[in-house]
Symmetry: C3
């Protein structure tokens, strides 16, 4: 396994990491086993036993091919898209956005199975440990990069397409006026900059970009950029002149 080679290389360079790398990477037979162990270690506490969480996570990862395939796509997305990512091993061990996303995939699976109170408890632990708050009912595609990740909030009826990149501080929120379907729908390959808020049941088309700090309250057509507070549209591939 490529990831174990990376871990062994790091340990030979830095023997201080030996215990850490054995616990999280080198002692496991598969990526899924390593991830179940890592997430159970981080999310367990006095009244939420490691053993219970490990069994639950390992079971979900073994049972659900869709999660397994999403995990692989997510790791590749982090490594390919973040110039600061040194290795796959680095992504798994040190990216709390990656860790929060994979925890979400498991508690979303539990939510879909009708295990609401358990899914919500895990959502809450992820919000506490990683400062990332993703509702278990939200739908998130594969190959998604959560970079830095602190402060990300994704609401109950949000939908995020494949290969989306979401920076820290991003909100996919509701207007607070109603229940029901009230959160954004984000198309494939969208890039959402740091601190951007996308609010309401609106659509951000595939390949669109949302600038840092933008507050988006209107639909954004495909391959268009939205900037500002409130956000305006500033050009697209088919209409390269901007509205600035």
């Amino acid at each position: 396994m490529k990831i174990q080679q990376e871990a062994a290389h790091d340990v030979s360079d830095e023997p201080l990491l030996s215990k850490h790398m054995h616990a999280f990477i080198l002692s496991h037979g598969s990526l899924e086993e390593a991830l179940a162990f890592l997430l159970a270690t981080k999310l367990a506490n006095t009244n939420l036993d490691f053993d219970v969480l490990y069994e639950l996570f390992w079971d979900a990862l073994r049972s659900c091919a869709k999660i397994r395939s999403a995990i692989c796509a997510d790791i590749k997305a982090v490594k390919d898209r973040d110039p600061a990512c040194l290795s796959y091993c680095h992504c798994i061990l040190n990216y709390k956005g990656f860790q929060a996303c994979e925890a979400y995939r498991i508690f979303h699976y539990l939510w879909v199975q009708g295990r609401q109170p358990l899914a919500c408890l895990l959502q809450s632990r992820v919000a506490e440990v990683f400062a990332v708050d993703i509702h278990p009912a939200a739908k998130i595609g594969k190959g998604v990069l959560f970079d830095h990740a602190t402060g990300v909030v994704i609401g109950e009826t949000a939908v995020v397409g494949d290969n989306v990149a979401i920076l820290h501080g991003v909100t996919l929120g509701g207007t607070g006026k109603q229940g029901g379907d009230r959160h954004p729908k984000i198309g494939e390959g969208v890039l959402i900059g740091a601190g951007a808020s996308i609010i309401g049941n609106i659509r951000v088309g595939e390949g669109a970009k949302v600038g840092a700090g933008a507050v988006v309250l209107i639909d954004v057509p495909p391959r268009t950029t939205a900037v500002g507070c409130p956000a305006r549209l500033v050009g697209s591939r088919t209409n390269p002149s901007t509205l600035k």
Copy 2:
């Protein structure tokens, strides 16, 4: 107690939650006892003993009827105003904004009693554990909803009225130019959107709304909406035409 019925119902649906629900809800004789236990568990660490914190919190909650009445109003606010809140039990166990707010109520009580170093230590633990930083001298009314809560900062001389809703990433900050009374005064029933910053000793009138990402540097009249960066006013109940 309604909350214990909810907890028992969740345990019968999901036996994995049994230990968790017993520790935090089912083994306690009152809401205050449960909350003192929960907060002491979350805020204790190696050099800050659970027993010391539990006694301190339980004592504050027993002694101060004002905190007890605020807690009830806060739980109701979360349940009534957040469509994603499943039950009162869900609010107590899983909303770090609720937990941070109730911890604030206790360390504000300690601050008012002249126990500054202890109050500041608890403020710091809440900032670390929940990523919510509320100065112990700030004054916050009852029935307040802190939704998601990551990144909230409320300064020393801020005042927040009853029934205010504050989303994640909100700052009630100073201008950094001076000491003294330097933070915002927020009227009753105000709604402050995600990531909004309200800066300086300014007044946001009752029933006003502050949009997501707004940066408010001027007074906002009652029942008026402020949006943008820097924020402008965009209409009110008595003057429904907007300045957009």
Copy 3:
């Protein structure tokens, strides 16, 4: 040592703090020893031993006069510039921004020595524990104040001058378009308000101010203020009329 006098005074006022103050302040022979102990306590976990971290941190602080001098300047900056800071002891114990900054100074030192995987692991622990994400390769001067600190992100090729104040939620980020030198350069004495994003390899001149929530995509001349999203320049000491 002034700081120990402050701690002893707090313990005499508040005996509950005795264990905490002895562990973190009163039992140590120097500020560096106290800080190594505090950071090792906070960043250790099941698979990252306190003893290993304490030796590592203490060794870095003993070996590197530049870090020691920066720590003193940082403490003074917090005490002098934040009206809410009660004492030097209060800063060391309760300011997660200060703690995250000093941890950065140590893992930056490790990064420069070629110990990348160890430095990245510590960066990740600081992101998890304090919600502050500073790349170990970033260069940060001395006398820096990180106030509140939740959500701060500083990229790999960012440079921050001496005596800069950075509020919570600030991003010194890249545009995501390229690798290489892609992050901002912040001059001496700059003040960056809450939630501001400064994006790309741009320059913010000495003594400049960046308003809360500003999104800065262009160079900011010295002693000039940038506000808005995207940010525009609104006057300077030599050109006091504003461009509003």
